[in-house]
């Protein structure tokens, strides 16, 4: 059995004020590191400035990063200092001071983490309610940007997205083309399993669930190409369920629309809900009967 540590072998009380040193080093490091991180790293954060929602997410990420940087600094200082100062001599088994509690530190810690948590939750809620942050909000969205919006229905299926434009007479296409500087209201749904519509540069992600309508908002900026991916495992070709979308000028959008209409003119007689038959063929929840789909 190893030597029983005895009270006699305890080292003399340490008079160095370790706590003071750690706190000073922490504050110094945080004061330097936080602005540096916020300015240098924050800009690199996704999804970039492809849309108003994207810009907001970048800001949100930067704020989160600025809040957690001091926390990282505290642990870094503590461990670098602590592990250097408080290690035992090789082979020695000597008891340390029997410190069991200090309610001041506990209260300080609880208050500190509590303040951080409440701030983060408050800030996140504030940001969320601004314009929905690009996330899917379900059929009754709580964060709705004002003004008129271009409606687009996004229909996920195994394994592609189809986009339907009610304002273009229910035009369906497998290309997503949006006009610039426009508020877009995306209605995301699925024909079969759960998919997730993720327009990366636009900062939009909304799950596509069969039989339900998931609304997400995005305010486009200037012309760009963006990536659309499926972000929910949906079967065999999940990894291949991607394509590119475009934000274009209004004129280009109109010409694209008329070109698409011309392309699909051939099947107009077969489209079960053509504009001529009254209004936009637009169902917010897309639920074809099973009997119509069975093979």
């Amino acid at each position: 059995m190893a030597a029983e540590p005895s009270a006699a072998s305890r080292p003399p009380a340490d008079s160095t004020n370790h706590g003071f040193r750690v706190v000073v080093a922490w504050i110094a490091l945080s004061v330097v590191a936080t602005p540096l991180v916020a300015i240098l790293v924050g800009r690199l954060f996704p999804p970039g400035n492809g849309s108003a929602q994207g810009t907001e997410q970048v800001l949100d990420n930067t704020v989160l990063l600025s809040v957690i940087t001091p926390v990282v600094c505290l642990l870094a200082v503590f461990f670098v200092y602590g592990l250097r100062s408080f290690h035992a001599a090789p082979g020695a088994v000597v008891d340390g001071p029997p410190l069991r509690n200090d309610s001041r530190i506990q209260i300080l810690w609880i208050v500190g983490t509590g303040v951080i948590v409440l701030f983060l939750a408050g800030f996140g809620t504030f940001e969320l309610l601004q314009n929905g942050a690009g996330g899917g909000q379900g059929p009754n969205p709580i964060a709705v940007p004002g003004g008129s919006k271009l409606q687009v229905q996004v229909i996920g299926q195994q394994w592609q997205f189809t986009y339907r434009y009610p304002s273009l007479g229910g035009l369906e296409s497998n290309q997503l083309v949006l006009p610039e500087n426009t508020d877009v209201e995306l209605h995301v749904t699925s024909l079969d399993v759960i998919h997730s519509f993720w327009a990366y540069e636009l900062g939009v992600k909304a799950d596509a669930n069969p039989g339900s309508d998931n609304v997400a908002f995005v305010e486009t900026k200037g012309p760009e190409t963006f990536h659309v991916r499926c972000a929910e495992l949906c079967g065999l070709w999940h990894g291949y369920m991607y394509n590119n979308g475009r934000v274009v000028s209004s004129a280009q959008f109109q010409s694209w629309a008329s070109q698409q209409k011309k392309l699909y003119a051939a099947i107009a007689p077969f489209m079960n809900k053509s504009p001529a038959d009254g209004g936009a063929p637009y169902s917010k929840t897309y639920l074809p009967l099973p009997s119509e789909r069975a093979g």
């Binding site: 079967g235 065999l236 070709w237 291949y240 392309l263 699909y264 099947i267 077969f270 074809p288 093979g295």
Partner: protein
Amino acid sequence: MRPGVKLLLVAAALTAAGVVIGFYVSNLTSLAGSPTYTPPVANASSGHPVVNLQIQTVAAVGPKLSPNPDWVSYLIKNNGQWQRKTVWDLPAHATVHVTIYNFDGASGLRNPYLARPQGMVGNQILVDGKPTQAVDPNEASHTFAVPALGLILAIPGVADEAKDQCGYAPCPMSNAHRTIQFTFHTTTPGHYRWQCFVPCAAGWIDGFGGPMQTIGYMDGFLNVKA
């Protein structure tokens, strides 16, 4: 136990583990299950390679070609034999002439716009020799789609009342069938998945289980090589 015996035991255990792992990994890679078909390539006068593909779509692949005889499947003709291979090697920037013989009945498209053939030469297909720019969505039996190439076409099905319907594949040409012909161009090298968008796996929820989610039946790759 002597150390020698122990070493022997450890060596045996290592060998056994190696065998099991080898079996496991090879089992997983061979679930790939779909051997590749490399069609003969002709060089047209323009210098572009030219490939001809002959394809069957069948309602039931049959016990000869698959352990799942009732699965719906695509087949390809290789040296006069119909084979269940859905990974095809194609040269880059080639002209590919495709002939699809469909022996399956109609089941309808979920997205009517897929009835508009796109991405092939002339944006139209020949259905039983007749140029077609739109297939009746309700008449569609399958689609052949390579999304990354923008290639989509619906394949009309055999009428329900047609005589001499094919049972198990491979189906002889004497059975009722529709013939679809089109030509498309391959682009840069890469792996392009193709699939069917019609929920045609009978018995599965949403028609998308089994053969629709297994390479070698209704899904495959175009391996476009330089």
